[in-house]
């Protein structure tokens, strides 16, 4: 038997009949495949959104810049000026409560004494009342 005659015998084989049920089956499988893909896409989008949300949130709603601490930022007086501040505060309170002239006089004398004895180069001004 020649190769050609063998090929002819194989080519002459009857074609198996296509089952008519195959198209409905394929159609159903295709519908399921599309649904599955839709679910996968939706799931992927949800996961992507969950992953991206914190990033987007931090980009769009940036946290407020930290406010400087009023106390920490306030320039503190050198230690040698502290007695002066105390006397100044006492003077302020004395004026507020309407202290006697004598008391006020004593406080002013104390303040002048501290200012003289202290090494502060700049004498702090008393608070305005």
């Amino acid at each position: 038997m020649t190769p050609e005659s063998l090929q002819a015998r194989l080519a002459a084989l009857p074609e198996p009949s296509l089952p008519p049920s195959l198209w409905p089956r394929l159609h159903l499988a295709r519908v399921r495949q599309r649904e599955r893909r839709r679910r996968v896409i939706a799931g992927s989008m949800a996961v992507l959104a969950l992953v991206a949300l914190p990033f987007v949130y931090t980009r769009i709603v940036a946290p407020p810049a930290p406010q400087p601490d009023a106390f920490a930022a306030a320039p503190r007086a050198p230690l040698h000026e502290e007695p002066l501040r105390i006397v100044d505060r006492e003077l302020q309170h004395a004026y507020e409560r309407g202290a006697s002239e004598q008391e006020l006089q004593q406080l002013w004398q104390r303040r002048q004494a501290i200012a003289r004895s202290g090494s502060a180069s700049v004498v702090p001004q008393p608070f305005e009342i």
Partner: protein
């Protein structure tokens, strides 16, 4: 102008419609090619259920790959290539069998009825799955030994040797009794 264009124009039109989700176009493409794909799958597997599975998977892949299909080339070779690859994948998943030993076993003519001996289809079915696939793809589908070797993960020599022994077996069985001239 390309002479092939008018031949594929209706198919290209169907492809365009199918890409837009036209259900009738899908069905028309299926009706145009399913018989050929099914025949190939059946020849390679010799199993009706497996052939139907392969047809289904082939068309599902086509539907999923519509945007990548070229309109200027016929669709059927692509479909047949996909079906053949699916059949080969199934074959490769089977537990390894001794194709050589099976081919040798076919010389036992006591197992073959006279009717079978004259029936090329029955003889083809009796070939080991690997030998049957190589014979059909090479002889009827025009696959080269290089194609077969690449797809099966062997050398072209392996493909040539298997094909030669399988064809010799087929020819011997198809020769009329008493007129057998065995190939070397």
């Amino acid at each position: 102008m390309d002479a092939r264009v008018p031949d594929h124009a209706p198919e290209a039109h169907l492809l365009r419609r199918a890409r837009r989700g036209d259900q009738a176009a899908f069905e028309a493409l299926y009706q145009a090619h399913a018989s050929a794909v099914h025949a190939l799958a059946f020849r390679l597997t010799s199993n009706a259920a497996e052939a139907e599975d392969i047809v289904q998977e082939t068309f599902l892949r086509m539907f999923g790959f519509l945007s990548g299909l070229r309109e200027d080339t016929p669709l059927r070779p692509w479909l047949k290539r996909v079906a053949a690859n699916l059949a080969i994948d199934r074959l490769r998943r089977l537990p390894r069998t001794g194709t050589d030993a099976e081919l040798e076993g076919l010389t036992d003519e006591a197992r073959m009825s006279p009717a079978d001996a004259a029936d090329a289809e029955a003889l083809l079915r009796r070939l080991p799955p690997l030998a049957r696939t190589v014979v059909w793809l090479h002889e009827m589908e025009g696959w080269s030994h290089e194609d077969l070797a690449r797809r099966f993960g062997h050398t072209a020599s392996w493909s040539k040797s298997l094909l030669s022994r399988s064809l010799a077996r087929l020819r011997a069985d198809l020769e009329p009794r008493g007129d057998a001239s065995h190939d070397p």
